[in-house]
Symmetry: C2
Subunit: 684 residues, 2 copies
C-alpha cells in the first residue's frame, strides 16, 4: 500500500515498486466522496480562502477599509481563468467587439445617463450614534430575525432551511441573547409579504415600514432617521485647476454607448452586433458587509448587444431553445411568493414570460456559462425585476441569482435598456447615435405635393414665401386635394397659425400626385445588456465547491472544475533527491506542450500534506513521481475528490490527464484507460 | 495572374485554376518591401489608429477630457496579447506570485509611502490666462524650439535628425511664424547642457531657468508664475460619512508591499520571490499632450522582486549575461552627453555600471520581452536616473526608453527600492514585514554572562532587582570580566545611570563564559521593481510597426509580429457564394484547433480592399479561398509585408501558417515548403 498519509519518515521508504497494483477495482475508483458529511460553515471556508490567500481584506495592516479586497495568487488565477472562459464563451464564440474604456468619467456623462440623480441607495442613520445603515438591508435583517425567532417559538425542534440556518447563526452571533418570540399569524404573513416584495420599496415606503414595525438599529436598539438618498458613485476632480469634476464609473456600459458610432463603423454600419468589456467598476456602498458579495471595487464583464427595436429575434436562438431555467417572474413575486417555475427558454419566450428572443438567448447563454465554470445549477435561478425595482434605464430585467450562505445573490443582470442611453446621450450632445439601414425593398408611397412655379412663386409672395411653403408642406393629402379643387375654381386662401391670410392662384403652383421611394431607414438601436459581477460569481463558485473530508473536518477541499482551477496538475516528487529531477522536468515540459498548466511541489513536506494543501487550492489532479517511476517509467495519477490513484506509463498518464483537463473524457473513462492502485483510498 | 487589386467585377472571375503557378521565384518571395519609402508622419498613423479604432480619445462626443483614451477592438486585442505574452515571459516562466489588489487606497497608506508629500510635478501658470503648464515641459519645449531655429539660421539646408524633425514640425504647427534666429555659440552650449540634465532639476531651479532665459508661455508670450508642486494623485472619499479620504493608486506597488506577509507565507517563508500585478493606475497629469504616452489612466504591469539585501545575486543571471544593451549611465548624462555605450549585461554588472545581478537580470529580461513583441532594438536604450531625478523611494533606477516621434520615452522603469517601503509601512503600522531565515550554519559565539543565584538574587536586591539586571545585561565582556575580578576580591559596586550604587557579593551571582548559537536571522528584504507602462509600449510598438506601401502613401501597414497581432490569419473567400462556405468553415475549425486565432472577412468588398484593411489592422497572414480551392483543395497564403502569395494543399498551408504564427519557422522557410505564385506581387 502507498501510505501517503504516514509521517514523512515512513513515506520516504514507499515506492511504487513495492505496492500492490490491482486492475479490477473500478467500483472503488468511482466511489463518490461524501461531500455533505459536514454541514457548510462559512467561517471554515473563509479561513481557507484567507489562509491560502485566494483573497483577503485589503489594507488590513492599516485597519482595513470595508468592501475592498485583494486577490492573492490562487484567487487571481481563478479570476483569470473565469475571465478567459468568459472571453471564449461570449466574445470569441459570438464575434463580439471588445473594448477597454476609461474608468474616470467626466460628470456630464453621468448627469445625462441619470446616474447622478438616481444611482443611489436609501440610507438611515442611528439617531444616537450616527451609524449609517442601508435602509432595505435594515428592514430585511430585522424582520427576518423576528420571523426566525417566531419559528423557534412555534417549534423548538424546528430545523430551519439551510439558508435560514446561516442567517440565524449570523443573527445569533450579532445578538447572542435572541430568544424565541411568537408572533401573531397575521404578522408573520405580513412580514413574509414585505420580504418577498422588499426590492420594490422606495425610500418613503422603507421609512414607513420602520415606523410601523418599530424597526430600530439592532446593534443599539436606537431609532433611525428617515431614509435619505446616498449616491453610490465615487467622486473625484480631474486636472490641476480642480474645476473638472468626474466620477469613477459604477458600470462599464457608458463606455460602450459613447463609442457607439465607432463600433457601428467597425461592424460595417449594421446591427445586430455586441460590444463587450471586462474591467473594474466602483460603487461607494453604504455599509458593505457580505464579503466579496458587496464590495466597493469589483471586476465586471458587460455586453451591450445592439438590436433593431423592431426585430429582437436572435439568429441562433434555436441553439438554446431547449435549455431549461428556473424562472421567478415578477407576477409571482408581486403575489408574495418566491416559487420558481422550470421552463425551457423557448417556452418562456413563446408564453411572453421572457420579453423577446434576444433576452431569452442571453439568459440561456448565461446559464450555460455559469454551470460550465462550476456553479451548481440547482442553486441558480433567474428572477425578473419588479416594476419599482428596475434601474431607471431598463424596460425589462432578469437577474441570474445564485444561492449561497448569505441567501440568493444577484450575480448577473440581464436588462433590456431599450433606446434609453443612446437617446439621452444623442440629445445631450447633438451627435446622432443611430443606424441608417439600407432597406432591402424600398418603401414606395404616393402622395399629393404642392409644386410651386419657380419663376413666379417667390417673386409674387416675397417675404411671405417661407411661411406659405411651411403651410403647404404641413398639409396632408386631403387638405392638398381640397386646395387643388379651390385652385381649379380660380383661387384659394390659406391661413397661417397666427391668422395671416395668403391668396394663391393657379399660376403660382399646381397640386400633383407623386411617387416617393424610401431606400433607407434611420433608427436608434435598443440594447440588451448582460452584466456580470465576476467577484460575486467567483465567491459563489467557491462556496459551491467547498466541502471537508469525511474523516477530517479540517481537511477542506475545493472541487473546482479543471477549466477554472488555478493549477490543473500538481507534480509531486516523492523525494527531494536529484534522481527524480529529469523525469519531473520531462513531465512538466510535456504538459506545457499539451497546454496544461502544472506546478511542481518539491517541498520537503510529507506527500499527504502536499496533496492536502493542493486539495484546498482546488488542484484537480496530481502526478506522483518516485524511484520506481524512474526505473519503470510509470507514474500515478491522483484525482482530488475521490483521492483515487491510477497508475500507467508516463506518456499514457500525460495523455489521459490532458484529456481530463480538456474535458474530452471523464474520470470513469480515465479509470478504464489506466490501472487502479489498490489500498490508496483506504489509507489516505 | 491573380488580379486581387482589380475592382470587384473583375476579381470575381479570378480563380486559382486560371493563374500561372511558378515554383522558382524564391528571390521574389523574399523581396523585402521598402518600408522607408515615405517618411514617418504621426498624423497618418493616428488617422489609421483612430479610424480603425485601435484607440480613440474618450468622451469625445462630450468634448473629451485630455489624457483619457478608450481602446477599441483591435487595440484591446493588441493589449491583451501583449499582456498574455508578459504573463508568460515573466509570471509563468519565473513562477511569480500574481496579485490583483484594490485601486482605491486609504490616505494613510500613501502618507506613509511618501506619495502624499512627494508624488508631484512642478507646475506654472500663465500670469494672464491662468493656463497651467508643466514646468519642465515648458523649459524643454521653449529651449528646444530656440535651438531648432538656431540650427536653421546656421544652415538653411540643414536636415535635422529625424527626432528633431518631428518636434520642429509640431513646433511650427503651434507657432506658424517661427523664424530662423541665430544664437551665440555659448548660449547653444548652455541650452544643450540644460536639456541633457533637465530631469535633474527641481522646482526652484526650473523657476530660475524661466527667469534667466526669459521663458514664457509659447502660446501667449505671457510670463509664468513660480513653479508650484501639484500632487498627481486623484483624491476621493470612501463611505457615506465622507470622513475617510482615499486616493486612486498611482502605481500598483503598495498592494504588493501591504500583502508582503501573505506572499511570504505563500512562498514558504523564504526569499527571493517575486509578486506581479497587471492593473489600472491613475495619475492626474498637469497637461497631458502626447497621446498614449502621457495619460491620466493607464494599464501597468509591475513586478516586486524581494531579495536578501546582503545577496542581490540572481540564480539564472548566467542565462542573460551575454545580452547586449545600449546603456546611458548617470555620469554620462551629468557630463551633459546622451551618448550610449553598448555593453553586455554581464560586463555592465562586473564594471559596477549596473549595481547588482538582479537589477541586471531584469534589464536583460525587459530587453528580451520588448524586442520579442516587436520593439525595434535600435530604438531602445536603458537610461540611469540621475540623483535628483530618482523617485523618493529608489536607491538606483534604470529606465527602458523607447525612441518615437515624441523623443525618447520611459516605457519601463527598473528601480531598486531597497527596504524603503517595507520599512516605512512596518514602522507606521507596527506589523513586522520581515523575513526570518533559518541559518544554514548556526552562528556560534562565546561571551561572558552574569548568572544570578536564583535563590538569593531577588531576595537580597528586592525592588532594585530589575535595575541591577538591566545594568548587568548592558555590560560588555570587558566590563563583566572586570566585575568578575572584583567579585573574586570579595565584593563589587555598580552604579546606575542616575547615580544609585548597588553592592554585589560572590554569593549573589557568578560571571561565566557561555556559548550562544544563533539559528535564525531576521531582515527586511530589498525590492527590485520592474514597472511597465503598457500603453506607452503599445504606442511605441505601433510607431515602430507603421509604414506605407511604396506605390500608395495612403495604404498604411502595421507590421506587428504574429505574437501580438490582433488577428493572426484572415480567411478571405473570393466570392460570397455558398459553395465556398464548407471549406472556409473547415479552415476556421482547423486553425482554431491549432490554437491560431483567425477571422473570416466575407464582406462583398474587393479582395484588394479587404487585404488593405487587414494590413492596417496588422494581420500578418491571409488565406484566400476560391472555386478552384474547392475543386483542387488548394489555397493561397499571403504574407502581409511582402504581399507575396504561396499556394499549396489546404492542410499544408494550415500546417505552415501555424508554424509561422508560433514562430517555429520564418517566411523564407515557408517559401521552401509551398509553391510561389507568379505575378501576384506585381499586380497587387
Amino acid at each position: 500500500m502507498r501510505l501517503y498519509s504516514l509521517p514523512l519518515k515512513a513515506s520516504r521508504f514507499c515506492t511504487i515498486a513495492n505496492l500492490l497494483v490491482c486492475k479490477n477495482h473500478t467500483a472503488m475508483a468511482n466511489a463518490t466522496p461524501n461531500k455533505t458529511a459536514h454541514p457548510f460553515e462559512r467561517s471554515r471556508l473563509e479561513s481557507l480562502l484567507f489562509g491560502r490567500f485566494f483573497y483577503a481584506p485589503a489594507f488590513d495592516i492599516y485597519g482595513g477599509v470595508k468592501g475592498l479586497y485583494d486577490f492573492g495568487p490562487p484567487g487571481s488565477s481563478l479570476q483569470s481563468n473565469i475571465i478567459a472562459e468568459w472571453r471564449k464563451h461570449f466574445i470569441v464564440q459570438e464575434h463580439m467587439l471588445e473594448l477597454d474604456t476609461a474608468i474616470i468619467t467626466p460628470a456630464p456623462v453621468f448627469e445625462t445617463s441619470g446616474h447622478v440623480a438616481r444611482f443611489a441607495d436609501w440610507m438611515v442613520k442611528d439617531v444616537e450614534t450616527g451609524e449609517v445603515l442601508r435602509a432595505d438591508h435594515l428592514v430585511k435583517n430585522v424582520l427576518q430575525d423576528r420571523l426566525d425567532r417566531d419559528r423557534l417559538a412555534r417549534d423548538p425542534a424546528f430545523q430551519p432551511k439551510k439558508e435560514d440556518d446561516k442567517k440565524k447563526k449570523k443573527a445569533e452571533k450579532d445578538k447572542p441573547k435572541a430568544e424565541p418570540v411568537k408572533l401573531p399569524d397575521e404578522v408573520v404573513a405580513e412580514y413574509e409579504n414585505i420580504l418577498a416584495k422588499l426590492d420594490n420599496y422606495g425610500g418613503p415606503e422603507l421609512g414607513e415600514l420602520c415606523q410601523k414595525h418599530k424597526i430600530t438599529n439592532p446593534d443599539t436598539d436606537n431609532k433611525v432617521t428617515e431614509p435619505k438618498m446616498f449616491n453610490l458613485m465615487f467622486k473625484t476632480s480631474i486636472g490641476p485647476a480642480g474645476d473638472v469634476s468626474g466620477y469613477l464609473r459604477p458600470e462599464t456600459a457608458q463606455g460602450h454607448f459613447l463609442n457607439f458610432n465607432r463600433l457601428l463603423a467597425f461592424n460595417n454600419g449594421t446591427v445586430p452586433f455586441a460590444s463587450a468589456q471586462i474591467g473594474r467598476s466602483f460603487r461607494n456602498e453604504i455599509s458593505p458587509r457580505a464579503g466579496l458579495l458587496r464590495v466597493r471595487e469589483f471586476t465586471m464583464a458587460e455586453i451591450e448587444h445592439f438590436v433593431d427595436p423592431e426585430d429582437k429575434s436572435h439568429a441562433t436562438f434555436h441553439e438554446v431553445r431547449d435549455v431549461e431555467l428556473d424562472l421567478l417572474d415578477r407576477h409571482v413575486q408581486e403575489s408574495g411568493s418566491t416559487k420558481v417555475a422550470r421552463l425551457s427558454v423557448g417556452a418562456a419566450v413563446d408564453q411572453g414570460i421572457i420579453a423577446n428572443e434576444t433576452l431569452g438567448y442571453f439568459l440561456a447563454r448565461i446559464y450555460l456559462f455559469l454551470t460550465k465554470i462550476g456553479i451548481n445549477p440547482k442553486r441558480l435561478r433567474f428572477r425578473q425585476h419588479m416594476a419599482n425595482e428596475m434601474a431607471h434605464y431598463a424596460t425589462d430585467c432578469w437577474d441570474a441569482e445564485i444561492e449561497n450562505s448569505y441567501g440568493w445573490t444577484e450575480c448577473v443582470g440581464c436588462a433590456d435598456r431599450a433606446a434609453y442611453d443612446l437617446t439621452v446621450h444623442s440629445e445631450k450632445t447633438g451627435h446622432p447615435l443611430t443606424v441608417k439601414q439600407q432597406l432591402a425593398e424600398p418603401i414606395v408611397t404616393e402622395r399629393e405635393v404642392a409644386v410651386p412655379n419657380k419663376r413666379l412663386f417667390g417673386k409674387t409672395l416675397g417675404r411671405s414665401t417661407p411661411v406659405v411653403t411651411g403651410l403647404l408642406d404641413a398639409m396632408d393629402d386631403a387638405q392638398l386635394l381640397k386646395l387643388k379643387g379651390e385652385l381649379a375654381q380660380g383661387a384659394a386662401t390659406i391661413v397661417s397659425n397666427d391668422g395671416q391670410e395668403f391668396k394663391l392662384t393657379p399660376d403660382l403652383l399646381t397640386i400633383e400626385r407623386r411617387t416617393f421611394r424610401q431606400t433607407t431607414r434611420e433608427f436608434t438601436p435598443n440594447v440588451i445588456e448582460p452584466s456580470f459581477g465576476l467577484g460575486r460569481i467567483l465567491y459563489c463558485l467557491l462556496e459551491h465547491s467547498f466541502w471537508s473530508r469525511e474523516q477530517d473536518m479540517d481537511r477542506g477541499v475545493l472541487s473546482l472544475p479543471a477549466l477554472v482551477a488555478p493549477t490543473k496538475v500538481l507534480i509531486v516528487p516523492l523525494s527531494t533527491k536529484k534522481e527524480l529531477s529529469p523525469l519531473v522536468a520531462e513531465i512538466t515540459a510535456k504538459l506545457r506542450k499539451a497546454g496544461v498548466f502544472s506546478r511542481v511541489d518539491d517541498s520537503s513536506q510529507s506527500i499527504g500534506k502536499r496533496y492536502a494543501r493542493n486539495d484546498m487550492l482546488g488542484t484537480p489532479f496530481g502526478i506522483t513521481v518516485d524511484f520506481a517511476s524512474v526505473q519503470n517509467r510509470t507514474v500515478t495519477l491522483r484525482e482530488r475528490d475521490t483521492t483515487v490513484q491510477l497508475i500507467g506509463p508516463v506518456d499514457d498518464v500525460i495523455a489521459t490527464v490532458t484529456e481530463l483537463v480538456d474535458d474530452t473524457i471523464d474520470w470513469t473513462e480515465a479509470c478504464k484507460r489506466l490501472s487502479i492502485y489498490d489500498g490508496v483510498q483506504a489509507v489516505e
